[in-house]
């Protein structure tokens, strides 16, 4: 254990390795070329090893002593390792320190992220064909992304989390637009960035509110200070918590900010597997889980809202997924739906369940994306389910791992998804929100929605599986050329398949009852959150398990019924019977169209209007003022010339006229002058006498 501790106490290396890798790949892109994958994967394996050792150190305990330090602080898992440094200096009278910390949740996430990242890098090396121009760019971006995600889970405060959050957003943008020559990736990347940015602005304002309330953004500080302000600023804290959640809604593609994720599928599949399935989109869930001291202390309605948004999203997205034709799009909506599940669980107070599902989901959803990528790769980049069929014989390994992921997602008993979904639904069943009074049926509504989602999930996954792997080939040309993927692709899939099947046994409540074995409750202990008491009667747990299993199996059954038993013609008849509903769901409830009108077109019109206003009104005022100025000057000039000058010339004219009169007196005759002189003198004398 001491050996593992050394790794825990240098956990920053896990963060530094991918960053270094990314920089090196970017710097030596030309000389590395396709060898970048070896370098990237190698470095990531080191990071994975480091993470596993850290995980072992954390899971092995030994951080109980530190727990006393913040005793009484609810909703705070005491970090097993924590460092801080001064990156900000003073701002105002505050000094915001940046820091990293590791606790149980972080340790799990570290392993998940580095593992999936290593898998992705191995997988991508074969996925990209020889003509790929931006091979190294992909690897640099993936490593940078991994840095961001690792930084996010290691961050000890909201600000650093936000920074990493946006770095991931940037990488997501870059990877969606990997093939930016085409229109779809270019639009998809902008849509992704902007939609998440809308959430991020809300999140930033949430952070401002939290800073205003607690004057601190570290998890420890928030957990300590928020309970003190709740009495005075309860409503504000609620608002802050909700706004923080909008960030999670953007990142985790929750309704109504979910529209970007399907379009993110325009990127290369390995990138989608890492970013848009396993890790980045889970960051929103992680945020809610990590910042639970905010939600736990906030008024109860916030978590209720969170729960219902999650529940609604999961149901909503699952229903859309039932009618998608693109294999990646099915998975994308499935991801949205599953993320909604986790969000719901967190909102319902099922903190451990939500995080546990986040972990299992990361494994099986990455796996499904890999498998889908392998299918697409084998099928000459065809993604349409209706052109596939019967592929199980052509690509058996891919088929096998797909089945592992499929059954895990569908919640087939014994697979990882079964256990995590079970815990999640149990949390929904036993929900009792604090400080919020609700009607009885509302209390059970999330559970019903969750159960329906479980059913739909099983159904659409069965549908996709059947269409892709069973039945007769629908496009023989593509079928004949299908080929199994090389080892770089199936090896990572195999690793993830094993985890998809077995990782659920880390928290297998029912088997634990039957067979015993403390290790089966490992994650329940690891994900213990102070302040949340998870108590469920055994009978309730059994009932939930039974219901969940039934829902899953019914879904699988329905899928088989519709696609194996019922003929396509009958299906078409049924579809035309329910045409309006079919169209509504098929068109994704027209959300994209509504947004297009409501936001995009409006903004465009507004911006054109403003620009016109600037050019034709503000500038016109300025130019008009200028024109008034010049015209005023002209007027002044005219006035000067015609009036002022005229005044002067008039004087001159007058004096000239007078002078003309006087001129006549100047005869040039000396004697006249003299006479005048005499007259004047005499007159002066006389006048002088008179006056005196």
């Amino acid at each position: 254990m001491h050996f593992a501790e050394t790794f825990l106490h240098s956990a920053w290396v896990i963060l530094a390795l991918p960053l270094l890798t990314s920089a090196l790949i970017a710097a030596f892109a030309r000389s590395l070329q396709r060898k970048a994958w070896i370098f990237g994967t190698g470095m990531m394996l080191v990071a994975l090893f480091w993470s596993i050792m850290t995980f072992i150190a954390v899971a092995g305990g030994g951080h109980g002593a530190a727990e006393a330090a913040h005793e009484g602080a609810k909703f705070l898992i005491e970090p097993a390792w924590h460092i801080q440094w001064d990156a900000w200096g003073q701002f105002g009278s505050y000094n915001m320190k940046m820091g990293l910390q590791v606790d149980g949740l972080t340790a799990v996430m570290l392993v998940v992220v580095t593992l999936v990242s290593a898998c992705v890098q191995t997988y991508a090396s074969a996925y990209f064909d020889g003509g790929e121009k931006r091979f190294t760019r992909f690897y640099a971006a993936i490593n940078l992304f991994t840095t961001g995600m690792l930084g996010l889970v290691l961050a000890d405060n909201l600000f650093l989390l936000l920074v990493c959050w946006e770095i991931m957003g940037l990488c997501s943008y870059l990877l969606i637009g990997h093939w930016y020559e085409q229109e779809w990736p270019r639009m998809g990347q902008i849509k992704a960035f902007l939609t998440t940015r809308v959430g991020d602005v809300g999140m930033m304002i949430g952070i401002f509110i939290l800073f205003f309330l607690a004057k601190d953004l570290t998890w420890v500080g928030l957990a300590e200070k928020l309970p003190e302000v709740i009495a005075e600023h309860g409503a504000l804290l609620g608002l802050g918590a909700f706004l923080l959640f909008t960030g999670a809604m953007g990142k985790s593609a929750q309704f109504p900010l979910h529209t970007w994720l399907p379009d993110a599928m325009a990127g290369p599949t390995p990138g989608s597997a890492l970013i848009h399935a396993a890790t980045m989109v889970a960051a929103g869930v992680y945020l809610v889980g990590r910042a639970f001291m905010v939600y736990g202390n906030a008024p109860g309605w916030v978590l209720v809202v969170v729960a219902f948004i999650g529940a609604f999203t999961s149901l909503f997205a699952a229903s859309i997924a039932t009618l998608r034709h693109d294999i990646k799009e099915v998975l994308a909506y499935s991801t949205i739906s599953q993320l909604g599940y986790m969000i719901m669980a967190l909102g319902l107070g099922g903190w451990a369940a939500g995080n546990f599902h986040m972990m299992t989901h990361a494994f099986f959803k990455a796996l499904l994306f890999f498998a889908a990528g392998s299918v697409i790769h084998a099928h000459h980049h065809n993604q349409f389910l209706h052109k596939m069929g019967g592929l199980r014989k052509k690509i058996p390994i891919t088929f096998a791992v797909w089945m592992a992921g499929y059954l895990a997602l569908a919640g087939f008993p014994g697979f990882s998804g079964f256990f995590s979904k079970d815990e999640l639904l149990l949390a929904a069943w036993t929900w009792h929100p604090e400080g919020v009074h609700m009607a009885g049926w509302l209390l059970k509504l999330p559970f019903i929605m969750g159960l329906t989602t479980a059913f739909l999930t099983a159904y659409y996954m069965t549908r996709a599986t059947y269409l892709a792997f069973f039945g007769k080939p629908r496009d023989h040309h593509l079928y004949d050329h299908a080929h199994e993927s090389p080892w770089q692709m199936w090896a990572p899939m195999a690793v993830l398949a094993v985890l998809s099947v077995f990782s659920g046994w880390g928290w297998a409540a029912l088997p634990n009852e039957w067979f015993g074995g403390e290790w089966m409750l490992f994650f329940e202990h690891l994900f213990h959150m102070p302040g949340i008491e998870h108590v469920a009667e055994a009978s309730a747990a059994h009932a939930v398990t039974a219901m969940a299993t039934t829902a899953g199996l019914t879904g699988i059954g329905l899928g088989l019924l519709l696609y194996k038993v019922v003929s396509p013609n009958t299906r078409a008849k049924w579809i035309s019977a329910g045409k309006p509903i079919y169209n509504l769901v098929r068109n994704k409830y027209y959300v994209d169209e509504i947004y297009n009108v409501l936001f995009i077109e409006t903004t465009k019109v507004l911006s054109k209007g403003i620009s016109w206003f600037d050019g034709n009104v503000v500038d016109a005022i300025v130019n008009g003022l200028g024109k008034v100025g010049t015209q005023l000057a002209d007027a002044t000039g005219w006035f000067d010339k015609t009036v002022v000058d005229r005044l002067v010339t008039i004087w001159a004219d007058i004096s000239r006229g007078i002078a003309a009169q006087f001129k006549r007196m100047a005869t040039g005759l000396v004697q006249q002058y003299m006479l005048t002189l005499v007259i004047v003198v005499v007159a002066s004398v006389v006048l002088f006498q008179v006056i005196r």
Partner: protein, 504 residues
């Protein structure tokens, strides 16, 4: 030392008068030296900042590296230089940008090189002088010194509509500065007419009651500065000036000249009349927040790449304006946060926007167009230039981890307590800013490479040299803003104290 920083370029300009104008290379070398001397002279000031003596004299309270001589004692005009955190950061920015601009001019400016360089050096003296002066008259002299070279630099070396732009710039700023002078002289007389020293004035004028005349004086000052900032609705000279100005001048215009306005607000209008500022803070906030949204939307609709970037300046400086507005009504601890944030926005903008303009210039030099409809697929054609552009675009839209974000984040942190959810409007501005950056990148950088641009030369060493220092600073301050924070800290505390004591 400050005098050296201020006057060395001017001295070099005088020396260059005696160099024949055919010796272009020599002229560039001399101009480079003239602009590097202040840079070298600034380094010890930065290095010795925390150890430097802080003046306690009334004419330079809280300032460092003070130089003080009587000039026209009868009316209380003195030659007083001194810097605090607000000033030294701006001086550092200025002395960094001018050598870069001169390097960017090399080979780019081909006509009347001698006149150009001399004007540039005079401009440098003007900006450094504004940031160093503590006496209002001295300040005003430098303020006007800035105006003239800029007029000629745009009017002679500009684009097609250069004369229109130059005159617009000139009249706008001249009207602004005259209005400002009127306001300042009124305050000088109100304060007893004994001293033009800004700090001494402030101690008296900040206690004046809020009357019609002090309000007038405040807005006279603010309008004078707002034109330079530029603050909505006094901004329309900026897009024209930028579009017509040659690239190096655009870099300076965005990097330094706009900061004259923000600096002057921090140094003059708000310390002098904090009580009025408090009462009319909402006016500044309304204009600032309107400017953020307005400029973002206006930028989105532009067809001209450079005009877009110019509007983004209005957008960013709006953040400074709302920070200042918030700082004038908040209690001290949050006011400090707002002030620091707002000022960091200006610094970050001073680092990022020059290279953004430079990036636009790189495209223009190669393709001879700035029309967003005509550019396209540049990532395929000239990848390195495109990468640089993408980098700076992300910096400009406020990506966390780069310098632009820190300031916006702290600003809004500080503004939130003052105006509550009105920050959502600024937030909407952030989203729209991001939107047009992305759309522009899509138009210019992404897509298939265009045939007419095939074979364009990629980045040159000179361009890398120009780009690198500012890009490094962008990243550095994005992850480690502590150096700026610590430089500003004292000054922010002093100013927030002045504001808090105003009218009491």
């Amino acid at each position: 030392m400050l005098s050296l920083i201020v006057f060395a370029p001017m001295a070099m300009a005088l020396l260059m008068l005696f160099v024949p104008k055919t010796q272009e290379k020599l002229l560039f070398i001399l101009a480079g030296i003239g602009s590097l001397i202040p840079l070298v002279a600034t380094l010890p000031l930065l290095a010795g900042w925390s150890g430097a003596a802080v003046s306690t004299e009334t004419y330079a309270k809280g300032m460092r590296f003070v130089e003080h001589f009587n000039w026209i004692p009868k009316v209380g005009v003195s030659y007083t230089f001194g810097v605090d955190g607000f000033a030294i950061t701006m001086i550092a920015l200025s002395v960094l940008l001018f050598p870069i601009a001169i390097l960017a001019s090399y080979g780019y400016i081909k006509t009347r090189v001698k006149d150009y360089l001399i004007l540039l050096l005079i401009l440098m003296t003007g900006t450094n002088g504004v940031f160093s002066a503590l006496d209002f008259i001295l300040f005003y002299v430098f303020w006007e010194i800035v105006l003239l070279p800029m007029y000629f630099l745009i009017g002679i070396w500009g684009g097609a509509r250069r004369e229109y732009a130059a005159i617009k710039f000139f009249i706008y700023t001249l009207v602004g500065s005259v209005v400002m002078l009127v306001g300042a002289i009124y305050l000088y007389l109100q304060a007893g007419g004994t001293s033009f020293n800004i700090l001494e004035l402030a101690t008296k004028t900040s206690q004046l009651p809020v009357t019609g005349l002090t309000t007038f004086a405040f807005f006279a000052l603010v309008v004078g500065f707002a034109v330079k900032v530029p603050m909505f609705p006094f901004h329309t000279w900026l897009p024209d000036a930028h579009v017509e100005a040659p690239t190096p001048i655009s870099m300076l215009l965005a990097g330094i000249l706009l900061k004259l306005g923000s600096y002057a607000m921090i140094r003059i209008s708000h310390p002098l009349l904090p009580q009025v500022a408090k009462q009319y803070a909402w006016v500044l906030f309304a204009l600032g927040v309107a400017g953020i949204l307005y400029a973002a939307l206006a930028a989105m609709a532009q067809k001209d790449f450079k005009k877009q970037v110019a509007y983004s300046s209005v957008n960013h400086m709006g953040f400074f304006v709302i920070a200042l507005s918030a700082a004038s009504i908040l209690p001290r601890d949050m006011a400090e946060v707002a002030l620091q944030g707002g000022y960091i926005v200006t610094i970050a903008h001073g680092i990022i926007s020059p290279i953004f303009f430079f990036a636009v210039g790189m495209f223009y030099e190669r393709t001879h167009t700035r029309d967003l409809g005509k550019l396209g697929g540049m990532f395929v054609t000239i990848p390195v230039v495109s990468f640089m552009t993408a980098f700076v675009a992300f910096a400009n839209l406020g990506l966390p981890g780069l310098a632009g974000f820190i300031g916006e984040f702290i600003t809004l942190t500080g503004v939130y307590p003052a105006y509550g959810l009105w920050v959502l409007v600024a937030g909407a501005g952030l989203v729209i800013t991001a939107a047009w950056h992305l759309l522009t990148m899509r138009n210019v950088l992404l897509g298939e490479g265009k045939k007419e641009y095939a074979g364009l030369p990629d980045v040159t060493t000179k361009e890398k040299l120009i780009f690198a220092p500012l890009a490094v600073l962008t990243v550095l301050f994005g992850v480690w803003p502590a150096p700026i924070m610590n430089l500003l800290h004292d000054a922010v505390q002093t100013l927030s104290q002045v504001i808090a004591l105003g009218g009491k």
